[in-house]
């Protein structure tokens, strides 16, 4: 697509967003339910289109253009198609995120201030492989009244195209502007989107750290998401050994390539003899390679080809693999400092029975998720009860953490009066500022 064509799509999406913002929740939900229907009805055609992508992908795999993981994420089957349709219906079942009054103050008699949730406008989502990402993103966007520009991976070209056509057709049948959805495919399209400040309100990159970093560094449009997910677990001196072992194993091995997987284990030095050996054994049994700092390494009698020494870079590395760095610390403060210095602000956990220690940990760890005695893998929109997520934000401003519907709506201040001027209030007249909501 030419830059002009992309900007054209974006401009039409911006225009369509106005109509979408005025659509009722009934209309938006109707569109979502039609989308789910169409996807189930076209199962055969979807499998066919996906087959084409899989054949293409096998060649790309042979050329080393994509990974095994990407290939497996690409595959659609009956079960996945069913779960895509169910996912859309779940989003339809969620309450309307728009038009909520989040603040109401009577500034004076007949002068009412309200803060009301509304759509952002136009969202651009850039995602790789997984075709099921497309309907998930579209359902969240339509539910929130946002137009969305989609850029899928070339490897999922046929699947994405058909999914997109089905969703757009459903949108049209529901009487909503079809131009609120646009699909792009080439790398050049991304470059054009990054410059479309006039039409795009938010960019959501879903893919490799390098993709996210590239986007963050090449646009002035707000970017939702994160490059690195360097999550920590700190075992405080009173940590229960069995619990600690279960949590470390789950956080590291349950899905190692996830951004909420554990990358660095911090352990109080008093636990090196009592806890570390069994934790290390459990991890080795799961095929995890370990990189230990001097102290923890020296404390281990176990020798194993998968036990090595850590170097400085390890503390700042997201492995996305069966690899874990381990560091002994002498105090809660040292653990907190390490996390704030080397972490990525994603999710960090304290394992301890000490409520006061957790209070300190919670107040001082600067991450979107601060956990107590639970696996970091819980950092996820579905698990949080958000229905689904468009991504996980590690910045400090809203939206932060797993981002569901609430994260892709904003608000406007509505002030309704009877002709009041500010001049009236520059003299004796006082505001009442009576908080109603």
């Amino acid at each position: 697509m030419t830059n002009e064509a992309v900007l054209d799509n974006a401009a039409r999406a911006r225009a369509a967003a106005g109509a979408l913002a005025s659509a009722t929740i009934a209309d938006r939900n109707k569109a979502l339910l039609l989308m789910a229907e169409k996807i189930e009805a076209e199962e055969a055609a979807l499998l066919e289109a996906n087959k084409k992508d899989l054949e293409q992908a096998k060649t790309m795999l042979a050329e080393g253009a994509i990974t095994d993981a990407a290939l497996s994420r690409l595959k659609l089957d009956e079960a996945k198609i069913k779960s895509i349709a169910d996912g859309i219906r779940q989003v339809a079942a969620l309450e309307d995120p728009l038009g909520k009054v989040t603040l109401a103050t009577e500034l004076d008699q007949d002068l009412l201030l309200e803060r009301i949730t509304c759509p952002l406008g136009v969202i651009a989502v850039i995602f790789e492989s997984r075709p099921d990402a497309l309907p998930q993103i579209v359902s969240l966007a339509i539910k929130t009244g946002n137009a969305v520009l989609l850029k899928g991976g070339r490897e999922a070209e046929h699947s994405n195209k058909l999914l997109f056509d089905l969703l757009q057709a459903a949108l049209k049948t529901a009487g909503l502007p079809e131009e609120s959805l646009a699909l792009m495919t080439s790398r050049e399209d991304v470059a054009a989107i990054l410059k479309a400040e006039a039409f795009v309100d938010l960019i959501i990159p879903r893919g490799s750290n390098s993709l996210v970093r590239h986007i963050q560094e090449n646009t002035r449009i707000p970017v939702l998401g994160h490059a690195d997910g360097i999550c920590h677990m700190y075992l405080h001196e009173d940590a229960d050994r069995a619990m600690a072992t279960d949590l470390v194993v789950d956080a590291k091995t349950q899905y190692p390539s996830a951004c909420n997987a554990l990358e660095t284990l911090l352990i109080h030095e008093s636990l090196l003899a009592s806890h570390l050996p069994s934790i290390v054994s459990a991890l080795l049994a799961k095929g995890v390679e370990l990189r230990l700092d001097e102290t923890s390494f020296a404390s281990l009698n176990q020798k194993d080809s998968n036990i090595g020494k850590a170097v400085d870079e390890d503390w700042d590395t997201e492995y996305c693999d069966l690899l874990l760095s381990i560091k002994a610390v002498s105090s809660l403060d040292e653990a907190i400092d390490h996390i704030n210095r080397h972490g990525s602000g994603h999710t960090d956990c304290l394992v301890s029975a000490d409520a006061e220690a957790f209070e300190q940990f919670f107040r001082r760890v600067n991450s979107a998720g601060v956990y107590h005695n639970v696996s970091t893998r819980f950092a996820d929109g579905f698990r949080y009860g958000f229905g689904a997520e468009v991504g996980i934000a590690t910045g400090k401003l809203h939206p932060r953490g797993p981002v569901g519907l609430e994260g892709i709506v904003t608000y406007k201040y509505k002030l309704t009066g009877k002709g009041q001027t500010v001049q009236e209030y520059s003299g004796s007249r006082q505001f009442t500022h009576r908080r109603l909501v």
Copy 2:
């Protein structure tokens, strides 16, 4: 100050922010009340310091280095010092913005998710002249548990230095880390702050449009605020003439240099004969220069040296002066389109008795403030009942509109469990997702 010194200040502020985040509301309020006391106690010294600045400023004025407006904003007197102290006490009286549970969901038995408000960390504020801006910013920062780097204008050097020393001394007396406050003065310091991504979470520029634009374009740190404030008022066909006249005059003339002042008046063509003449007369009487589009210009019989024709640039210009552009439109839609195309997303108002027309106007105007029958000049943190404001944000993401305490806090997700793993939930075990708050 050298770059190293600035980064050093920033690093120490980051460290101090940890302790500040753990301070109780009692400690933070104690510091604020001590600040107010000190400022009143040192009135004489403050007037003395301010006198030095005023003398310096007179020379700068002669050299054209600053404006008359800047000079008048610079002046402190007994009344202003009293109001500064009162302002700090008002902030102390506001409820604690930290530790609020804004969401609580029981994911499962003994697995509680909470979203809790917390400080951002380190805020950098760059402001010009007005020395009373410094204590206002510091009081909001300390109330929200944020460390703050301050960069004042050279013209207020002596006043700022003394105010800063008094506030920092009060902070220390209250037992809070004095390094949570740092003062910078040179232009070079700003350049260093813009690069301090590792230590600064938010930059708040308070000053000229060019200052704000320069900062927005030269940092990757989130910037709160806005360059332009191009506010509109649209008089719909049923607008009451008297109300419309009062609102237009107030919005344009009550304080023309404010960002929430009116810059463009949109008027339905059916009102050109009935309403425009009296509105024009009222504006001329206030010394306002008018720039009209062809249609509205042609409709006027009045001839006056202050009535001229508008050119295209006028629709995109913030005059910050007794200047107003006027455009005739044929419909509500045309007005909305003009506002979304030429506005700055600040504050726009509809004057009409028609509730349905306002519903459309509210849904479709993409601005932080969408008003009905009230002056745009109400867009202000104090008038909104926020106690004070650090600025007004015209972006679409939070914080948006006038930004008070709520806008400079963020949140963390707290997940507390009893050792639950995600693996347990990958099988038959279901989440309850029982919403508590």
